[in-house]
Symmetry: C2
Subunit: 406 residues, 2 copies
């Protein structure tokens, strides 16, 4: 059979991370590649307790079809939680999704036509590049500095009459860069959103994993709130396997998303929605987040200390206040991070090359390091291995290096 | 904010069944509208047992991210099960989906471009109309008789140079009509598929709920197998709340579906995949299906007997050998089934008007009755109420009726 696939099928691609994960199956590799949470930190006794509770009480309802919007008590609970962060929402502003990835996909479905212009940070989240690419959009990207998205550059872009469909931002401890958008920049962004009627997707899976500094208000709680669509998920703060995320948006947007989700999969897993509702209703979540922060900060510190100790002086890296990722940058022209990865895998350590996070495939002199699943000891050993290769490549390319540093 | 939605968003609609479900919230209504399985038949002790087993053994893996294709032991088990029905498949031919609805949506994504022609039975499954409409396809439909799709008419259509993307069929106890495609027709269809290189989506959620007669081989087990994509789900034979379906297809198609699913939601719920794997691995499924058939056949018989007893002689209806649905037809021009529904709701009974199952909104003289969730007593009472309204409308329109019967 000569299958005739759609244009959208032609725009789909496999995640580079999947390919890397295959590389890192060798048992002696220390992997900083995956962005998955540390399974040793899953709240197993509490999940067991609430799962058994769901099995005992009205389990038939938990095994039956449910409404597309999601289990009402869970939406009410999440709305209240969002309100605690200054995001005005009631249950009707919330759609439960099959993880945040489905939120991104459904948003693409209701907003993106082929050829639409979408603005992102640079680098940006790989999963957004994947889901949006399928809708054949054009990406315009804005570089970040230590305070996040360079809002001045955004305004320059907005003056160009591109009529972008929306802006996609990950404001806290961004995946992949670890960078946080500063309060001042958020305020500027809020004003720009209002001035240019620019919708914003605020994708924020990590904000509660903050290890230093104070919580910064969400864009979705600022003046531009009515232009904002907020995405959140339990994947990094409870468990990813339950595939549970949610979208907070104006009712007009939720109505469209519900129609799209109905066509996509009818509704999210009823059983898992009730398990997670019970977990939250029992009051376990805040204590667990505090515990996660206590544990992840040790891993982050171990990684930053090892980097400081072992990396050659030509390297630059970010110092995330939370989340799971450090972004490291080589001087331009030394070696591609793809080639670097091959050498590192031989040396027993892995990461994700920066190009995975650039819609145009650029970003070749950077890479993402995740400190989530390695132990502190493995982090020290892994960074030492990585640094060994970095010293080699920097010494191999002294002339280009000097030129690049000038 | 003036939200600028996509063209695809404009092609989405809400399910009429959702609207009807709102109508039927009144406690004294006997509803034959929903197509959901009987929750009193869920295998709750066994699900409880295997869920606790998953919680006890390697639960961290069941709570972690998984691969897009789905949990390998589950795919191996399903492949073996499919082989038992003559469908050649190994684990690499299977993608685990978030219910069959996601299978349909992902197939739309990888196959359908706006303007493509899709062939369906008439009537056809509402969820397929919904998901495909979003991809802005054109439907060409072929009427059914007691043996299912009229294959002669299909060949006439195939001769017209329409270059259809594919044929979508529900061969067993079709939702909504209850009709089964005969063996002879399947053989003819297999030949046509080969002759015209016509891909077939064989959507078969009900085939194991057979109450009379012998299993008929699947199209996917016939000569045309390599042109076939087979969809199945646990929703009607175990539980719908776990949202678990699967696609069986050639590897080339699976590869594209995996890419599409990765962009759509990364993967299906890890926990539920393991629960359902354990349920099947414990050997519970076949016995449970036997039990379901014993129980559902009583409901089917109760409905057919009540219809026989109470319906006016002008009515026609199907006699399904399995599944959950009976399809009833009024003489043309008596009353629209939408208007009939309003009167029936006043009389305390509900169904789904036929137009929901016609891509062009036709089908106004027919309606779908589900016998799955009402008790035998409720079925008797509900059909009596419905028959009361049918006698009225048939008497109100004697002249048109007579004309239509000639």
């Amino acid at each position: 059979m000569n299958w005739r696939f759609s244009r959208q099928a032609g725009a789909l691609s496999s995640s580079i991370i999947r390919e890397i994960l295959k590389l890192t199956q060798k048992s002696d590799i220390i992997s900083f590649a995956g962005g998955v949470p540390e399974p040793r930190l899953f709240p197993i006794p509490e999940i067991t307790e609430v799962t058994i509770k769901v099995l005992k009480n009205n389990v038939a309802q938990a095994l039956q079809y449910g409404i597309t919007e999601g289990y009402l008590p869970l939406r009410e609970l999440l709305a209240e939680r969002m309100q605690g962060y200054g995001i005005k929402a009631d249950a009707d502003n919330i759609l439960i999704t099959q993880g945040s990835q489905q939120g991104l996909d459904l948003l693409g479905r209701i907003f993106f036509d082929p050829g639409d212009t979408i603005i992102t940070e640079l680098p940006t989240y790989l999963g957004f590049i994947q889901s949006s690419s399928a809708y054949q959009v054009k990406f315009r990207s804005i570089h970040m500095d230590d305070e996040g998205l360079q809002v001045d550059h955004l305004e320059e872009l907005l003056c160009q009459n591109l009529s972008p469909k929306l802006l996609y931002v990950l404001p806290n401890f961004q995946n992949p860069s670890g960078v946080t958008l500063s309060l001042e920049r958020r305020r500027q962004l809020s004003q720009l959103s209002l001035k240019y009627s620019l919708p914003i997707i605020e994708d924020d899976p990590y904000f509660e994993l903050r290890y230093d500094g104070e919580h910064i208000p969400h864009l979705s709680s600022m003046e531009c709130a009515e232009n904002c669509i907020f995405l959140n998920t339990i994947s990094k703060i409870i468990t990813p396997g339950h595939r549970l995320g949610w979208v907070v948006a104006p009712k007009e947007v939720i109505r469209r998303l519900v129609q799209a989700k109905q066509a996509a999969d009818l509704h999210t897993n009823s059983f898992s929605q009730r398990v997670i509702y019970e977990y939250c209703a029992q009051g376990y979540l805040d204590g667990h987040i505090k515990y996660l922060c206590q544990e992840y900060v040790k891993k982050r510190d171990a990684m930053l200390e090892a980097i400081e100790k072992y990396f050659p002086p030509q390297m630059r890296w970010t110092k995330p206040q939370g989340g799971l990722f450090v972004w490291a940058t080589l001087p331009e022209g030394v070696v591609s991070s793809q080639r670097l990865l091959e050498r590192c895998v031989d040396a027993g350590v892995a990461f994700v090359p920066g190009s995975a996070f650039y819609p145009d495939g650029d970003g070749n002199n950077a890479f993402r390091l995740s400190f989530s699943t390695a132990t502190e000891e493995e982090i020290e050993v892994g960074i030492k291995r990585l640094a060994g290769v970095l010293w080699e490549v920097c010494q191999e390319a002294p002339s280009r290096l000097t030129a690049a540093q000038q």
